[in-house]
Symmetry: C2
Subunit: 245 residues, 2 copies
Amino acid sequence: MVSNVPALVSRLGRRFALSPSDQQALLAAASTPRHAVKGDYLIREDWETTSLVILCRGMARAVRSLPDGSQQIVALFVAGDMLNPGELFFPRSRTSISVLTSAISLSIPFEQLGRLIANRPAIARAIWRETAAQAAVQQEWMVWLGRRTAQARLAHFLCEISYRLHIDGHDCDAFDLPLTQQELADILGLSVVHVNRVLQVLRSQDLIELRSNRLTIRDKAGLYEIAEFDPKYLSGLEPPDTGAN
Amino acid sequence: MVSNVPALVSRLGRRFALSPSDQQALLAAASTPRHAVKGDYLIREDWETTSLVILCRGMARAVRSLPDGSQQIVALFVAGDMLNPGELFFPRSRTSISVLTSAISLSIPFEQLGRLIANRPAIARAIWRETAAQAAVQQEWMVWLGRRTAQARLAHFLCEISYRLHIDGHDCDAFDLPLTQQELADILGLSVVHVNRVLQVLRSQDLIELRSNRLTIRDKAGLYEIAEFDPKYLSGLEPPDTGAN
DNA sequence: CGCAACATTGAACGGTATCAAGTATGGTGG
DNA sequence: CCACCATACTTGATACCGTTCAATGTTGCG
């Protein structure tokens, strides 16, 4: 399994609007790419954080486990996302991040990164921006966790993933969604049983199809509507080409 | 009503670990302090963001309103917090921020701020760090919104506020909590009626006292316990003196 | 083929919402 | 200083959304 690292990095360059020279510097600072398989942990709660991790291929999730055995998934990452842009400042990680598919990640040790940040403002800006973009997504999750019905939550989550894949140039009407219903439940703050029932409602309304980890959106307008989905909050994840600020 | 601005700024200096010279520069870049009264909006959803706002005195909340009229409060700010550290990168605000008490705020226009960020890395670092710290708090809110009972949510929220006030050197066992039960409900994702009942349970267990916007914590250990409160996630709000990274 | 993980279904329970009164509380004008 | 009003708080009754427990199907993989 050989990976074309320069190609991956160039995609990152586009995502974060970095000049070729900055991309080069980032690549030089990174350790060799890591190939992880489904279930592998890239970061664990309470680990000392020593490097910035970027997901180049695959999907990952950040999870917080509670004493009673339940979990809450607090973030989902797709290719191109930074896994821990905010942890630069904190000695220990507050979540565990594991991979949902086989995946490739790049790590940039903090010592190297410190130099890059000092010398290359565009890189500092990119990481900072990513910190803010992920915070915006989290706020949206808080809103549906606090104030929306199970159906609207699920629909909204599916809309978000679809849109984020769309941003990165993937097919957003049919894609792999490597999540069990238990994991969906842990994202949405629901029980597995209820997720199952709500999924069936969405299916029966011909909004989606979901079988063996593959999601097809049959009626995007309808799904957006019951989700009350407005992708504005995801603007931080788009390439900042449009010169917006 | 005269406010001692240099004193306010020096407190900010401590909070963000800025050198006197950086504090000076920050103060010079800021517009005259604004005195707001209860209910005033400092920022509105969809407004164009043009400056970084820092709360020097009082409390504020960030709220998202839903089409059906309900609301979710997604952040609570105390004196010393930056209200919109992440909005530097986005053209429009995604929340409305209004003031819960009479308050004083300082605005730093983005043009000035750009210069400061370029020339004074410590200031850039402080804002970036605040972005990350607030994201950490949001993650904790997501966990209790998704996975905890009403009682644990409320208890946890009270613990957090108490601890944040403690960080800033205020009395954390008895303090003003200028929130109606409706506002508590909008923070916790509950109905007013239920907040009222849960408050009574906490009172009947002699954990807290809450009358006319003043909270007294009678049994801190007990409250921490039912909240499963662990303040580690708030470390980003403490002055970074300890040299941790 | 057989096992393990995942998905589905039903019944009963419970936490929280909703609706509807009723009761403090505080501020205001007379 | 009191009457009044608006806002906030409290309480009860009822309904519903979502949970839990338990069992049964289904799928995919070694």
